[in-house]
């Protein structure tokens, strides 16, 4: 059989946990092979083993039928294996070219790096696969989607025949995902083989040939994608039935909770990113903001939550002006915020989970009295939320850093929801999470709505927006350009609106 890569009976342990337990994956030449599993199932670990970052305790790896030892990434590179990591491995202050050639620099006779030559080569590679990357741009100046292409170029530059993509689409906008899929197809056309890790079953159905499922570190089996469907994949992965369409009753919105009027917000370079935005949210409804990344969503949320000063306009909560109040004041007025970047904003990773649970309330009774903390109250609350939100952690004393992304997210959601805010802002709440966790979080958001709270959901996942929202506000170029009802629209129409097209039920395209 012509397998390019075979990982046979791989076992990898970490202190106290078996991340991979006897897993087998075989990759055929020219195929896109999906790797599917819940958060923490062991997918990344398995791929890191293949890439030489980890050494397996047991098992065997074969490349083109030959048994190999991959003790470091150099060997993987030499064997033609390249990896696009879940967290990008890019040096931010460096240029695209510098990142790509790092470790394989072309040199002039004098020992100087031959940047010109490298840039030309990269331009050629980029053109060949339709990546349209600017070789001289700085990583910190380009979008996440671009950064991912740089990662792809990195592997191609090293002559990779096999590419591993670890959750490449989790951080991309729908447009970027479509483009990535195109890129993967062109890679296959050029004779490469791909292993793709993703939580999005639709993507698997769309591009993959076969799919290997892992559950809790164990290999469940490999299926031909043509012979399966989304529901079967989901239940293989979770070990039970999963419902995708979130059940919810009709919304019964009441009085107005959030009223944003003619808001202007500037970014750090003093450019207006929110430009005269109006937005209303009522109690008992979920408003989803659909939009392409970079149209001012982040700045809007930061302005509402007090993390960023707005430049003009007003924000009212329950008819009280909260414009430019400090984050603390905003929180106290009744706003909860599940931040987009959970590592940067959501958690103090070096604090125990317990102490993260009171991140905004530590100074209030009963968690402290006259500035003295009451650890018993804090940890009682933490235990309660850990139980209620099914946060999987050895204990409340465990550092937040040690938890998996999904569990970190559940802890944040528990914390924010538990304060019972009048307005709950959820930014990308399910990014990178497996279907089980997504289902759970969606249920929680809807529960809040049913309790009569207002929910503002920002997501780049149109599915999520369509499923969860009662009303969709389409954001483009710093403004809400349209309101639509999820049951009255479809992805194509939303896509066009998000791209700035004026068309609506009202009229034709521009």
């Amino acid at each position: 059989m012509d397998y390019v890569i075979e990982m046979l009976n791989i076992r990898k342990e970490f202190p106290g946990i078996v991340a991979n337990d006897n897993i087998t994956v075989q990759l055929k030449k020219g195929e896109i092979h999906a790797l599917l599993g819940e958060n923490g199932a062991g997918k990344s670990t398995l791929m890191n083993v293949l890439f030489g970052l980890y050494q397996p305790e047991k098992g065997e790896i074969r490349v083109n039928g030959e048994k190999v030892e991959i003790s470091n990434p150099n060997i993987a590179n030499d064997l033609g294996i390249g990896m696009v990591h879940q967290h990008f491995m890019l040096v931010e202050p460096f240029t695209v070219t510098q990142n790509i050639i790092l470790g394989n620099e072309p040199k002039t006779k004098t020992g100087k790096i031959n940047i010109k030559k490298a840039e030309k080569e990269i331009q050629e590679l980029s053109d060949r696969y339709g990546l349209s990357v600017d070789p001289s741009a700085k990583i910190s100046d380009i979008s996440v989607g671009m950064q991912q292409r740089v990662e792809i170029l990195k592997t191609l530059y090293r002559g990779a025949e096999v590419l591993i993509f670890d959750e490449p689409t989790a951080v991309l906008t729908p447009q970027e995902i479509t483009e990535l899929i195109e890129i993967m197809r062109s890679l296959i056309k050029e004779g490469k083989s791909i292993i793709l890790i993703t939580h999005k079953l639709k993507e698997i159905m769309e591009v993959c040939d076969r799919c290997t499922v892992i559950r809790k570190g164990k290999g469940i089996g490999t299926v031909e994608v043509e012979e399966t469907n989304v529901d079967e994949l989901a239940s293989l992965m979770v070990g039970r039935e999963v419902s995708f369409k979130t059940d919810k009753k009709e919304a019964t919105p009441t009085e107005n909770v959030l009223k944003v009027k003619d808001l202007y917000v500037r970014d750090s370079r003093k450019v207006d990113l929110v430009k005269g935005l109006d937005l209303d949210i009522r109690a008992g409804e979920i408003v989803g903001i659909a939009g392409i990344d970079g149209n001012g969503q982040t700045e809007l949320i930061e302005a509402i939550t007090g993390l960023r000063k707005s430049h003009s306009g007003s924000i009212q909560l329950n008819n009280k002006d909260i414009t430019n109040l400090s984050p603390r004041k905003v929180t106290e007025s009744g706003v909860g915020h599940i931040p987009q970047d959970r590592h940067k904003y959501g958690l103090v990773l070096d604090y125990p989970i317990g102490e993260n649970i009171v991140l905004q309330t530590y100074y209030q009774k009963p968690y402290s009295k006259a500035t003295v903390l009451n650890y018993k109250e804090i940890y009682d609350k933490a235990e309660e939320l850990i139980e209620e939100y099914d946060v999987r952690t050895p204990s409340a004393q465990t550092l937040a850093r040690a938890l998996s992304g999904g569990n970190q997210q559940k802890a944040i959601i528990g914390r924010e929801v538990d304060r019972s805010p009048d307005l709950l802002i959820a930014a990308q709440p399910t990014r990178g999470l497996d279907v089980g966790a997504i289902e759970f979080i969606h249920k929680k958001l809807i529960e809040e709505r049913d309790k009569g709270k207002a929910v503002l959901l920002v997501s780049f996942e149109l599915d999520e927006i369509m499923d969860v929202s009662d009303r969709i506000a389409v954001m483009f170029d710093g403004k809400i350009v349209a309101y639509v009802k999820p049951e009255e629209t479809n992805e194509q129409e939303l896509g066009l609106l998000m791209a700035g097209s004026q068309l609506n039920k009202a009229g034709g395209s521009q």
């Binding site: 984050p327 603390r328 004041k329 940067k344 904003y345 103090v348 903390l373």
Partner: protein
């Protein structure tokens, strides 16, 4: 698992000290000294009689405080190399109040001690403010503030506190930490009540950091400024507060010298080194209050004991610096010691 960890955390410093002493012994052997004589002299120098014990405690006192000054800032993610300057201004301020104010002891002494703390706090405020508002790296500013403290203090002693003399008068009894009783108890060592203040300060730091919302905020800011801002904390305020409190501890160390050990202040031709030693003490004590106290004790004992080594055994006192440095290395490299211990344990099973 955790109790195991706690045990290791205690075991590692002990092993480090033993390794450091063994290394010191080897060096003595190689340079032709008798290590046993050397260490006996060290012991006599630190614990030989009531006098040396008194002096050892006296030496430990300011080290605890400068250790706290560095450790406290560290907990907020700041590196305070400025304890040295904060000690100097604290010393100056304490003596100044000691000399200028005329009041009964119950008012005078606390006032003078407080003045030292406040002066140190002000010296910490500047780098704190610049860090918080402009993002200027605190390491450079604190280094520069050390020199500024030294020169300004000398000038004030010469031009304000005295008429161009090198040292001020002694502070009156009402502002003095020293005590006849403690001195008689220890054959006229300079042991003074400052040790109580130092230990109390350590308890305050522990309580502040571990038990209060202030500590909770300071640590959070040290770990992650973004999340702290998200949580509604005032990041700038916390950075400044941390440097002010840290400076306050160092200022108190200066007050201990001014009100306790020396009873005055002299023109200094160089740094006191209390602040720089404080860095080592803080790090050796893992930046936690209890650890700082232990590290200061170790440091003080070794340094005080070292004085006896040249006369007692002919060994240069610098040997003790080498030993302390090695101990710090061993503690810092605890990763490897931990690894070795765990290895042994596994094999033992």
């Amino acid at each position: 698992m955790t109790s195991n960890n706690k045990f290791l955390s205690l075991l590692i410093p002990v092993i480090s000290v033993i390794l450091g002493l063994i290394a010191g012994a080897i060096i003595m052997l190689f340079s032709g000294y008798n290590p046993i004589d050397g260490y006996l002299a060290l012991w006599r120098g630190a614990f030989g009689d009531a006098f040396t014990i008194g002096e050892t405690i006296r030496r430990i006192t300011p080290l605890i405080l400068t250790g706290l000054a560095v450790a406290f800032a560290f907990r907020t993610g700041l590196f305070n190399i400025g304890a040295e300057g904060q000690v100097i201004v604290g010393w100056l301020a304490a003596v100044w109040v000691g000399l200028a104010v005329d009041a009964p002891m119950i008012i005078h002494l606390p006032l003078a001690v407080l003045a030292g703390g406040i002066a140190g706090g002000i010296w910490g405020f500047v780098p704190g403010l610049l860090k918080a508002k402009i993002g200027v790296h605190e390491v450079i500013v604190t280094i520069m503030m050390n020199y500024i403290a030294l020169f300004i203090t000398n000038e004030i002693i010469r031009s304000v506190l005295t008429d161009h003399a090198t040292k001020t008068d002694r502070i009156p009894e009402t502002a003095s930490l020293s005590s006849e009783w403690l001195q008689t108890l220890t054959f006229y060592s300079r042991l003074h009540y400052g040790i109580l203040i130092a230990l109390f300060a350590a308890a305050v730091m522990w309580f502040l950091i571990q038990r209060t919302t202030i500590g909770y905020e300071l640590k959070a800011v040290g770990f992650n400024q973004h999340a702290s801002k998200y949580a509604g904390m005032n990041v700038s305020k916390n950075i400044i507060l941390s440097m002010v409190i840290a400076g306050g501890f160092a200022g108190l160390a200066g007050a201990m010298e001014g009100l306790g050990t020396y009873g005055n202040i002299s023109v200094m031709s160089g740094f006191t080194n209390l602040g720089f030693d404080g860095i080592a003490v803080a790090l050796l004590g893992a930046n936690n209050a209890f650890g700082v106290v232990l590290a200061a004790i170790l440091f003080g004992v070794l340094k005080e004991g070292a004085g006896e080594m040249p006369t007692g055994a002919g060994v240069p006192t610098e040997l003790v610096d080498i030993i302390i440095a090695l101990i710090i290395f061993f503690v810092a490299s605890s990763y490897i010691i931990r690894w070795v211990i765990l290895r042994f344990k596994k094999e033992g099973k």
